[in-house]
């Protein structure tokens, strides 16, 4: 029987929840106050809504579909480089979006590798702008995330059950039906919902690969309303529509992600005796190879372009690196602390609060903070703290969705024993929760650190020449047509993002 949260847990949850609410509601309120009278959505707004939903549905479905065979192959095969592969699946999600889109363009773009190949073969060229470009980029970012989520699901199936399956000599179909399908029923809806929500709020991809009346997301429309027209009324209306669909997505996701208390494996090293050989082995290998190419080629293209650009980097790169590292580590720390606080009550309400940031885009939040700060202080002076706050809020839902289930599982599996030994408060955290949640905390901190490292939303609104982060420097170099230097900065950013994620994920546990 699972334990209920004590008063300390509820207090921590309330404090964290209030902080999140205040940080979300205040900027939104200011925007609505400044926006004045509302108006009804017109055809352009409905078109943006339709496109946003359609691309998110396609992106989520394709990402999870592609991830299924890859995660299964990773779960049941042991091969040299497997760990590296699993680490690499974390890469695209952690890649600064603008940097990754540069890589995708280098491979799939008009003068990219794929079109070069097609041209050499005398075939027509492919175009990556519009709906299929947006979906391609989203699948590139989210298929690996889905793979990791599914892989964690596979790893959560106790090794003892696979051992039992091997003892009974169950054929692959039965292993799937009896062990894997029940797990997938729990994990897949959550993965779909998470990716759907991510794609609803993605903006840089649409900015670069979309645009125009037929491929504009709500996010992009908000940005355009702010930056081109400074039409706060239209921006508020679009923000409202955006928040509405994402709140719905979050509610659906909460309903879909259920936890069961079964499965207390003793943490034995996972060995699979049931992995079938023959053509299934070849198919697994093919899936892994395809996924590997899809994920690594854009990175390779980036690295090749970037190495040449390193020599062109200006001296401003150093303070930019310092600022980015500071924001990144601060964001990892605050996101994990906030996630722990919101996990402590082990209740739907606190998890729901932690998902609320998904309903707001970084740009909407940033504009809100800008409007709050503007009368008091030059907002540019607080560029880095505001970036940290917004990035913490943006990383919170992902981090919380890792930490909260891990917390609940630790309690479901071992809470009774901990209670009978009088482990409460700090002692419970130290001896039961933190050790059992180590993997989730490491992964969550890594995500927060890398996401904030690559963020180019708020800092673009707030940044001044003397306060710039690495992504902003890269963006400015691009804008100044210093493409080589921008590629160099992108490479530095890429290496840093990877490194902070790798360190945190590593600290969390050795099995990636």
């Amino acid at each position: 029987m699972a334990e209920r949260a004590g008063p300390i847990g509820r207090a921590a949850g309330c404090a964290g929840g209030l902080a999140v609410l205040a940080l979300l509601v205040l900027p939104l309120a200011v925007i609505f106050l400044q926006a004045g009278e509302g108006r009804l959505p017109g055809p352009a707004e409905y078109a943006a809504l339709r496109f946003t939903l359609w691309q998110a549905v396609l992106s989520a479905l394709l990402s999870v579909l592609a991830a299924l065979p890859v995660a299964r192959a990773l779960a049941r095969r042991r091969f040299p480089g497997r760990r590296l592969f699993v680490t690499l699946t974390g890469a695209p999600f952690l890649l600064p979006v603008a940097v990754a889109v540069l890589g995708l363009l280098a491979v799939f773009g008009a003068r990219g590798w794929v079109n070069d190949l097609l041209g050499a073969l005398g075939l027509g060229s492919i175009r990556i702008y519009g709906l299929h470009g947006v979906v391609l980029a989203h699948v590139f970012f989210n298929m690996p995330l889905a793979t990791r989520m599914l892989l964690q699901g596979w790893r959560a199936i106790p090794a003892e059950r696979f051992r039992l399956a091997a003892t009974l000599d169950l054929p692959p179909v039965q292993v799937f039906r009896l062990l894997e399908l029940p797990m997938l029923r729990q994990v897949v809806p959550g993965a779909l919902a998470a990716i759907f929500a991510i794609c609803l709020s993605s903006f840089s991809v649409a900015l670069i690969l979309g645009g125009g009346p037929r491929a504009t997301t709500l996010e992009l429309a908000i940005y355009q309303a702010f930056l081109f027209d400074f039409d706060l009324g239209r921006a508020a209306l679009l923000a409202l529509m955006q928040s509405g669909i994402v709140v719905l997505a979050a509610l659906v996701s909460l309903r879909l992600a259920r936890m069961d208390g079964s499965g207390t494996g003793l943490g034995r090293e996972m060995l699979r005796w049931d992995a079938p050989g023959g053509w299934r082995r070849g198919l697994d290998a093919a899936w892994l190879l395809l996924a590997g190419l899809f994920l690594t080629l854009p990175l390779l293209a980036l690295v090749l372009d970037g190495i040449g650009g390193l020599a062109d980097l200006p001296a401003r790169i150093w303070p930019a690196i310092g600022n980015s590292l500071g924001v990144s580590l601060g964001c990892a720390l605050s996101t994990v602390a906030l996630s722990l606080a919101l996990s402590a009550p082990m209740a739907r309400w606190s998890e729901g609060l932690g998902l609320l940031p998904l309903a707001l885009s970084p740009l909407v939040l940033g504009t809100g903070y800008f409007l709050i700060l503007n009368p008091v202080i030059a907002p540019g002076r607080l560029a880095l703290p505001v970036t940290l706050v917004v990035n913490t809020l943006m990383a919170l839902p992902f981090c919380l969705r890792l930490i909260a289930p891990a917390w609940a599982r630790a309690e479901a599996d071992h809470g009774r024993l901990a209670s009978s030994l009088g482990l409460t408060g700090f002692a419970r955290l130290r001896w039961l929760l933190l050790p059992r949640m180590r993997g989730a905390i490491g992964f969550g901190a890594g995500i927060a650190a890398a996401l904030s490292m690559g963020d180019l939303g708020v800092i673009a609104l707030f940044g001044s020449p003397e306060r710039e982060t690495l992504p902003l420097l890269m963006y400015r170099l691009l804008g100044a047509y210093r493409t080589d230097a921008a590629s160099g900065a992108a490479l530095v950013l890429l290496v840093l993002s990877f490194t902070v994620f790798w360190i945190f994920d590593r600290l969390g546990g050795r099995d990636a």
Partner: protein, 236 residues
């Protein structure tokens, strides 16, 4: 004296009543059909299930509002008696202090307890590296250092073979003799009960009966016990 005063426990539709007392130092076996509420009763005494009505008293003190860890109770569950992420020494040490600070004296106590249950030198291993019997021994070592006057066993040895189970029960009996603890244990096997308990608490039909002397009850079982024992009723 352990007193269950008009105790009513409810879990969903299930309801169990108990109203009896057990003198200190006694050992009693809870016997009854599957699903009759034996584990529920232990959960109620240990504090995992707040009673619907009534109270649990120990030496005249009302335990009902105390958290499980604050009760004078050491408990072994059917499974999951060790934290898999901590080594055996640490698992045992948590029985002395949940804070984790161990004096040299405490460390000596842990080593002593491990030696007493036959696990000398196993302190640095994790539970996954132990056999089932060794895991039971490690859990018993923790019970030993916990030094609580009330021991609750919820079939912790059910997964062990008959010989090993008998050995564990013998160890429990020895530890109980050394500490003078009061013991309540769930069992399915009247032979196990006979090995260790003086009293039987029959749990059946939504009620936990007052403890009755083992011999008398087995010699002349009431209808509910007769039905449960089936052909195994005759002991000599």
């Amino acid at each position: 004296m352990l007193e269950l005063v008009n105790l009513t426990l409810e879990q969903g539709d299930f309801r169990l009543e108990a109203d009896f007392s057990l003198p200190e130092g006694t050992s009693a076996a809870l016997i009854g059909p599957s699903g009759a509420g034996k584990s529920t009763l232990l959960a109620g005494i240990a504090g995992f299930l707040p009673p619907r009505r009534g109270r649990v008293q120990w030496r005249g003190e009302d335990l009902t509002r105390l958290a499980p860890g604050k009760r004078p109770v050491a408990m072994l569950f059917q499974d999951g008696n060790l934290f898999p992420h901590l080594d055996v020494s640490r698992n045992v040490a948590l029985g002395i202090s949940p804070r984790g600070r161990l004096s040299a004296q405490d460390q000596a106590r842990v080593a002593q307890a491990l030696e007493r249950v036959g696990l000398a030198g196993y302190g640095a291993r994790t539970p996954a590296e132990l056999s089932g019997g060794q895991q039971s021994r490690a859990a018993l070592a923790r019970i030993l250092v916990q030094d609580r006057p009330l021991m609750l066993l919820d079939e912790p040895f059910a997964a062990l073979g008959p010989a090993l189970r008998a050995e564990m029960l013998r160890l429990v009996a020895e530890l109980r003799a050394e500490t003078g603890a009061t013991l309540l244990m769930v069992t399915h096997d009247p032979r196990d009960a006979e090995r260790i308990a003086e009293q039987i608490v029959l749990v059946a039909e939504g009620r936990a009966a007052p403890p009755a002397p083992m011999r008398a009850l087995l010699d002349d079982p009431p209808p509910a016990l007769r039905a449960y024992l089936g052909g195994e009723g005759d002991f000599d």
